[in-house]
């Protein structure tokens, strides 16, 4: 009954899945892009729906979509991502982010102000990052700093609470407007990661009246900050964020960036039920719903016309193979399974076009995506059967299909099972009884006995983010999300080469080679790429969403 939009960013796929449930017929045609909308005037106010953020509004602790949406207009990072293409644009706080060897990066800052009038300096970043990386502060986005030298010293030893160090040795302030970052390994696309929320600067006020991290007054200041963040973005908060209700933002008139906010004020309203939010947009009491209820997908395009929009999201859903299980150790078995699944049929009939079939692992929202990189993802039932016959796979034993409960995956996993049965002659058994809290530890413990559903959403728009954290040897649980337990030195080496490439173009080329290798070994069968749908009232225009699924608040114009 209750559809919960709020989930972790990384599991947004399962939510969108939870939302996609009706059958048949095509979705709406892609409406024209944001550029087609009329240029509006500045002024006016509008409202935007979120569900309650899960964490205090501290950038490095906001890894789920709702908190990130609230923070989006409040902060400007070192660089920003283009709304449509996700390409990195140097329109943020950093004037330049440069390196000769891809290992030591020099960041030069522009003159920039926080909402409290203080300057954004090198310290604002250095202190924020040291805070985020320190395990004692238990920040959800801590892993973003793991590739900076000295990260290990900020992780408490087992049984200890306080780590050995408090500052990352790879992070150095040169002067007020310059700092350097030294990585443990070269990473050509490092700047691409820096537009992410976790890297946002923090003002001195975050560290108490003295502005010094690690002093006694920090905790109280941080609690206050978590409710009423002081950012450096185009909008500022007027009062504390009230859980269950929301917060009001006003335009920050002294904003240092080029793209100032259009509307005078924004009401961020909390809803728990997407149906209610949708009804409120219909009734004109709410201006933007960044999500719509699943059953409205057929009617929304007609009802809202130009005011219904959709785009690709960064979400990627896959069926992982337990490569640790003897039955799935042979890559031919995995290839056969993948070829026996008709992805298009599932996205058309079950998801009603709210998902696209995936024929690669690198998402369409990042550079380097290729539409049909995966040879073994094409639907070829006969070849699949022949290929399976070459292996010693015992088709008389049923195959377990795993997915987490209560998130709307039953229908499509069932469809996959039916296709496997029809095309390969294997019976299947659905294993969908575990909630997420039980399902994830099971994935980490090699507990799956057959193909399992999992998803991924990007942290930053680089192909690397769809490869290294999911399939590299260093990402094996508990250190990462390589839950298929795939380990191939050749793949690791290619990713490493890509990271160390001379240019972004070269990096992408090598990442694609790594992807090719992966799609041959097929530790996971790519299934779907997600899409976002959103609607808005007649009062607003220029309602654009980026690949992270966040409405670009400062671009929205109010019709007056």
């Amino acid at each position: 009954m209750q559809v919960h939009r709020k989930k972790l960013r990384l599991s947004s796929a399962l939510l969108v899945l939870a939302l996609g449930a009706t059958a048949c017929g095509g979705g709406g045609d892609e409406p024209a892009g944001g550029d087609a909308a009329p240029e509006g005037e500045a002024g006016g106010e509008f409202s935007l729906y979120v569900t309650d953020p899960e964490n205090p509004l501290i950038p490095s602790n906001t890894t789920e979509s709702e908190g990130a949406q609230v923070l989006e207009p409040l902060f400007t990072g070192l660089a920003v991502y283009d709304t449509e293409t996700s390409e990195l644009e140097m329109e943020g706080v950093a004037e330049s982010i440069e390196s000769d060897d891809s290992k030591t990066w020099t960041v030069k800052l522009r003159d920039w102000k926080f909402h409290d009038g203080t300057d954004v300096t090198a310290d604002s970043f250095v202190n924020a990052w040291n805070f985020a990386a320190n395990s004692n502060n238990a920040q959800g986005a801590s892993y973003f700093f793991a590739n900076i030298e000295g990260y290990d010293a900020l992780q408490a030893e087992e049984g200890q609470q306080v780590p050995a160090g408090t500052t990352l040795s790879g992070l150095k302030k040169v002067d007020d407007k310059t700092f350097t970052v030294t990585l443990t390994q070269p990473f050509r696309q490092y700047p691409v990661t820096l537009g992410y929320t976790a890297f946002n600067p923090l003002p001195d006020a975050f560290f108490g009246a003295d502005g010094q991290p690690g002093t006694a007054d920090d905790k109280a200041a941080q609690d206050a900050f978590g409710k009423k963040p002081i950012g450096n973005g185009p909008y500022q908060v007027e009062a504390d964020f009230t859980p269950g209700t929301g917060v009001r933002l006003t335009r920050f008139e002294d904003y240092s960036g080029e793209a100032k906010g259009m509307a005078d004020a924004v009401d961020i309203k909390v809803y728990t039920d997407v149906n209610t939010a949708y009804t409120d947009v219909q009734g004109g009491n709410l201006d933007i719903a960044p999500d719509i209820p699943p059953e409205t997908i057929e009617t929304a395009p007609d009802e809202f016309g130009e005011r219904f929009r959709d785009r690709n999201s960064s979400s990627f859903t896959y069926l992982g193979f337990p490569t640790y299980d003897d039955r799935f150790a042979d890559k031919k078995v995995r290839q056969a399974f993948s070829m026996a699944i008709d992805r298009k049929a599932i996205t058309d009939s079950i998801f009603n076009g709210t998902f696209d079939p995936a024929y690669s692992v690198i998402s369409p929202v990042v550079q380097g995506h290729r539409e049909d990189a995966c040879e073994f993802c094409e639907y070829k039932p006969d070849e699949a059967k022949a290929l399976l016959a070459e292996t010693d796979f015992d088709t008389s034993k049923p195959v377990d299909l795993w997915f987490n409960a209560g998130a709307g995956h039953d229908e499509w996993v069932q469809a996959v099972g039916n296709q496997l049965r029809d095309n390969l002659g294997v019976q299947f058994k659905l294993q969908g009884g575990l909630q997420f809290a039980e399902y994830l530890p099971k994935a980490d413990e090699k507990g799956f006995t057959g193909p399992f559903r999992l998803g991924w959403g990007m942290d930053y728009p680089s192909p690397q983010n769809y490869l290294e954290p999911l399939y590299s040897t260093s990402a094996l649980p508990p250190n990462g999300s390589n839950t298929a337990f795939y380990s191939n030195p050749e793949f690791d080496e290619l990713v490493k080469q890509g990271n160390a490439a001379e240019s972004d173009e070269e990096a992408i080329e090598i990442y694609q080679q790594a992807e090719d290798l992966l799609l041959e070994d097929l530790p996971v069968a790519p299934m779907f790429f997600g899409k976002e749908q959103w609607v808005f009232s007649e009062k607003v225009d220029n309602v654009n969403m980026d690949a992270f699924g966040h409405v670009r608040v400062s671009e929205v114009t109010v019709n007056q």
Partner: protein, 307 residues
């Protein structure tokens, strides 16, 4: 009377401890790792996960966790949820909302339920009586979420009489959800009142009263209704307890930031301290209202006395 109340309140203490321990144990018994689920598909670094487990005492055995909880409670610390928000803050924000919603619902129930019940009772087998019978049967058989969505769609969206959702608009925002919440109980109240009234009207004292030449108004109002109210008050008291324990579905449909929503979310996130804090409050509310109902009996029926 005062001693009776004091005794009942003292008895509540062990009940509250027992209840909170049971709830704590149930949340503890939920399978899975809440911190791992909080992180999503990308696991937290081991040291961060360990730090969070430590902060929320998740590594301790059940009794130790409960002991730490009670120790905190003794100092007025209700604990905090996984985002570091104190449970006392959650209560402070949600309780007033739920109280308002409950009172609106109770007012609907009591006023409309009683009027409908009395009118049906004194005009037995009339058209109005049948109408009450049919409508209450209908309302009782409709699930609350259907009623909620229909009311929201017709009265909120199409006719625009009431706000669609939320309480930002003030009191008017509580009317529609309050009515939806009251609908089911309203039907019960009407039927209870009618049945009790019909039964009491057959009594000898009513005939005597009529024979004395009292007006029908005072026969019903002064003599019969008061006697008929005992089961209704019992029901209303228990129902107010239920209303205050939050209405997960109604609060969801009308986007009302009350207790029901808070406890639903806490159960989903396996936030033991939040669930225990709120549910223990529910238990306390139930105990209190049961006591209130018992005290009201004495006021309604002088034959009932408490020593």
């Amino acid at each position: 009377m005062a001693r009776y109340i004091a005794r009942r309140l003292l008895l509540a203490i062990p009940v509250l401890f027992g209840a909170s321990f049971l709830i704590f144990a149930m949340v503890f018994a939920l399978p899975g790792d809440p911190i791992r689920a909080l992180a999503g598909e990308r696991a937290l670094p081991a040291a961060v996960q360990a730090q969070l487990n430590e902060e929320y005492n998740l590594n301790d055995p059940l009794l130790v966790q409960y002991g730490k909880y009670v120790a905190g409670l003794a100092q007025g610390d209700l604990g905090e949820d996984f985002r570091g928000r104190p449970v006392s803050d959650i209560l402070e924000q949600t309780v007033p909302v739920t109280v308002k919603l409950s009172l609106v619902a109770l007012a609907f129930e009591a006023v409309f339920g009683l009027i409908a019940g009395v009118l049906a009772g004194i005009r037995q087998k009339s058209f109005f009586d049948s109408l009450v019978l049919v409508t209450t049967t209908l309302v009782v058989s409709i699930p609350v979420f259907v009623l909620g969505f229909v009311a929201q769609y017709v009265l909120g969206l199409k006719l625009g009489i009431f706000p669609i959702a939320g309480v930002a608009s003030g009191f008017s925002g509580y009317l529609l959800p309050g009515f939806v919440l009251a609908a089911l109980s309203l039907a019960y109240v009407a039927r209870l009142t009618r049945t009790a009234l019909v039964e009491n009207l057959r009594n000898d004292y009513v005939r005597t009263a009529k024979a004395k030449g009292l007006s029908p108004m005072s026969v019903v109002g002064k003599h019969t209704l008061r006697n008929s109210l005992i089961p209704v008050v019992t029901f209303l008291g228990a129902d107010l307890g239920a209303l205050l324990s939050g209405a997960v579905v109604t609060e969801g449909i009308f986007n009302i930031p009350g207790l029901g929503r808070a406890v639903f979310q806490a159960i989903q996130n396996q936030e033991g301290t939040v669930v225990v804090g709120i549910v223990t409050l529910f238990v306390f509310v139930y105990i209190l209202f049961n006591l209130l109902v018992d005290v009201l009996y004495a006021a309604l029926d002088p034959r009932i006395r408490y020593e």
